[in-house]
């Protein structure tokens, strides 16, 4: 991993069109500003990881016969 040290207002440039700037450092937190083309998706690591994990769980669903509307009420009652 490349490690760089930056001060407030300093940034790094990634490739031709992505910039990350350190806006604020307070307590144990760093505020970053990110300039990137619209097509580049920027997400907090943990949010992306959560979606990915949930997708993997969802993909394990068996070929169950999906309950029709009429049976859903029974499922709801069973749950209650």
């Amino acid at each position: 991993m490349l490690v760089l040290t930056r001060k407030i207002t300093e940034g790094i440039t990634i490739g031709p069109n992505i910039r990350v700037i350190v806006l604020e450092i307070k307590g144990g937190q760093v505020r970053l500003g990110i300039e990137a083309p619209h097509a580049v998706q920027v997400h907090r690591d943990e949010v992306y990881a959560r979606i990915l994990e949930e997708n993997q769980q969802a993909a394990r669903t068996d070929a169950v016969r999906l309950p029709p509307f009429t049976q859903l009420q029974d499922l709801v009652k069973k749950k209650a």
């Binding site: 619209h38 959560r50 997708n55 669903t61 029709p68 509307f69």
Partner: protein, 160 residues
């Protein structure tokens, strides 16, 4: 064309029904073409079956069906890959996780809905900024009959 699926065997898939998800469902970048299996009208759920990996399929549902107040705001720049977008042509669904031992514990991922441009059949899984749960319980506010589903997507130019 005929597609092979692990769960449903061989299925006829008309070319014009193929849904393209160029960036894939997150975690499954190798699958970019899907078919929505929606033959059973009495069932609120549909299967999103991959054409590229026969074992890959998700159960999907219109979120408004069990969460009528679900509203999302999407920036146009997030869905550039769907092509020119008419808000009325946008359709949204969420992916369900259904435990095989107890389907009544099914949950929906409201944080990562999939948006489809019904006109072009291009789709994308979003990661919303709003703090929606990835495991929202489904079966607690379920109506006895299918509800008329309203429009739950607002478009804005840009988030940033």
């Amino acid at each position: 064309m005929i597609i092979h699926t692990t769960r449903f065997g061989d299925i006829e898939c008309p070319e014009e029904k193929i849904v393209k998800i160029p960036s894939g469902i997150i975690g499954f970048p190798a699958s970019t073409r899907y078919l929505i299996l929606d033959h059973d009208r009495d069932v609120p759920f549909k299967w999103l079956q991959s054409l590229d990996q026969e074992e890959l399929a998700f159960v999907i549902v219109d979120p408004v069906w069990f969460k009528p107040d679900y509203r999302v705001t999407i920036a146009l720049d997030e869905i550039v890959e769907l092509g020119p977008v008419d808000e009325r042509e946008l359709v949204m669904f969420v992916i369900l996780t259904i435990p095989s031992d107890d389907p009544s514990c099914m949950t929906a991922n409201l944080r990562g809905p999939v948006v489809v441009n019904a006109e072009t059949r291009m789709a994308k899984q979003l990661i919303l900024r709003d703090d929606f749960p990835t495991r929202a319980p489904v079966l607690h506010g379920v109506p006895a009959r299918p509800v008329t589903v309203g429009h739950s997507i607002s478009l804005v130019e840009c988030h940033r």
